[in-house]
Symmetry: C2
Subunit: 321 residues, 2 copies
DNA sequence: GGCTAGTGTGTAACCGGTAACACATTACAT
DNA sequence: ATGTAATGTGTTACCGGTTACACACTAGCC
């Protein structure tokens, strides 16, 4: 392992001067700088991030907490975070914590051990240990009722628009297939749906589902077994929509003629379905990007940043008239 | 920040003894141990991973290099790696490097700075800097021709089986829609297809596509514009299959009656399509898991491990007869 | 009783850097 | 010529741990 001492020795200067060259601060003569740069190149020297972190109490690591990377919403979010982190010289520690408070605690522990500088979370805190975290936290997509800055779309408004769109297409018995009850995005979408239905003078009808794909499969079968086929489904996300649509097609329900169906999110899969799904596209990559920038801003300058509300846009597919 | 000194002070013992308790080595009396554990709990002490890494030259971090997490194959792989790493007390540094040798170099640099203990890569090395990495590397899915241990399915055999399956279903003009030419998994699948066709006395026909979703879209349109519709397509992966199927359906080609279509991978999306895609399911999660275990074994015991060849299994969908 | 082995604990050097400080040299203004 | 500021470099304490070593104490044995 090549250390700063080796560089100092080879260049005939002290470690202090080498350190100044590395960090570009303090006074260093052009000649010394050249010698040192030469020595660094020759030895293929890379400053040890751990030693640096120990001094600065800064690790240049940020934690990204998500429920589950295999949920198709999160890869794009992760990518947005990672690209941005990387751009600013930070490294991302990926943490999947779905429904596992043990994992959650283990990661909180890791955050502390590694001097993680900030955390982006798209999962709701379920354990009290979160309170003991002293570094900045930014929420994205999902938000806790805590006072962490949040980057998300206005789910209520977007869901309302989506519902109004269905109404404009002539649907009257729109059923909302709701997401996990504990998740605020699910609640907001439910709320938007309700508002639109009430304003249109239609009676609303909510069927409880989940954001977990295994759960959804069970629910979907059960739904069609126990319900008359409505003229439209507004599903709380694309995954739910995909699975309900699959079930509907299996029962020879014509989409969109007999039943229209819409989702929410705009994940890659939604375009691949046939017919392609009409959905509310969230700017997922941008959410990750902005969440990461927000976090870094707070970490580096301690600037208190507010929430960022992004706009979801209706993406027409073939599942609506 | 609570340090070992605070714990030592509160417990009335020295930092050396505290360290012994933390690491469970050396002699510590039961009484002292109890005092120290008490103090650690009271102060909510977490040993600093950086300081430790500096001593041991071990960071407990592994790097995971993938082309692109938004490619639906990789989330499940990532999950397998991460769960396993976490189980063994390691942390995962996620690196998306698609087609960007700058990113690749930047990450190699990070690996060195962070004393990363080992690397799992599902992307082909494109820059020479890889040679300068001194820690163990395990390849998964894709493999370089280098002598890194690899965890993957036997793509040649699996592709051959898939092709034979299509032949058994009466297809004779099977076209292989090939993946990115530079990627060995793509080449292996192509090879398996050729073998099966030759053995059956059928002439093979390969259409060059790509593993990148934007590329595929262009190719798919072009394919149907310039080709007579064959009786079957064997696509190099599910994403290609999904996009070609979408294009075929748009042109009112009946699947599977007029044209059968199969994919490869077994990603979540494949089941959601209608009809659901017949595909070769790879044990993706297990690949990640095994790759991670292989790596950790090598890191911790320096045991030289060989390649692991897993089996892909045919998953019947509705796109074949 | 004196010797050895086993136990228990503190001290200090060290891991690889950083940065405050000291000191030397030079440049510039008066 | 001289005081002051700017520039350049080395030394050293320190970041938060680990661990080799020194030392003290106890127990067991001839």
């Amino acid at each position: 392992m090549v250390t700063i001492k080796d560089v100092a020795a080879l260049s005939g200067l002290s470690t202090g001067t080498v350190s100044r060259v590395i960090n570009g601060n303090g006074y260093v003569s052009a000649e010394s700088r050249k010698k040192i740069e030469h020595a660094m190149a020759e030895l293929n020297y890379h400053p040890n991030a751990m030693a640096r972190a120990l001094n600065h109490k800064q690790s240049k690591i940020i934690g990204l907490v998500i429920p589950d990377i295999t949920n198709p919403f999160f890869p794009m979010l992760t990518r947005g975070v990672e690209d941005t982190a990387s751009k600013y010289g930070y490294t991302v520690m990926l943490c999947n914590i779905d429904e596992n408070s043990e994992a959650e605690k283990r990661y909180i522990d890791m955050f502390k051990r590694y001097y993680v500088e900030g955390i982006i979370s798209a999962a709701l805190p379920t354990v009290a240990e979160w309170d003991s975290i002293e570094v900045p936290i930014v929420m994205t997509d999902r938000s806790a009722d805590l006072n962490y800055p949040t980057v998300a779309v206005d789910n209520v408004t977007a869901a309302k628009e989506m519902t109004e769109f269905l109404i404009s297409k002539g649907a009257t018995q729109i059923v909302h297939i709701a997401g996990s009850a504990g998740v605020n995005t699910a609640l907001d979408r439910r709320e938007g749906y309700k508002q639109a239905m009430e304003e249109a003078g239609l009676s609303f009808n909510i069927f409880e589902s989940d954001f977990n794909s295994n759960e959804i499969k069970d629910k979907a079968g059960h739904f069609f077994d126990t319900h008359e086929c409505p003229d439209a489904l507004f599903c709380a996300n694309d995954l739910i929509a995909a699975i309900f649509m699959k079930e509907a097609l299996k029962r020879n329900i014509k989409i969109p003629e007999e039943m229209q169906i819409v989702g929410f999110d705009g994940i890659l899969m939604s375009e691949m379905l046939s017919p392609p799904l009409t959905t509310m596209r969230q700017p997922i990559y941008e959410m990750g990007q902005i969440a990461c920038e927000t976090l870094i801003k707070k970490v580096e300058s301690n600037i208190e940043v507010g929430d960022t509300i992004l706009k979801a846009t209706l993406q027409m597919g073939g599942t609506t008239l």
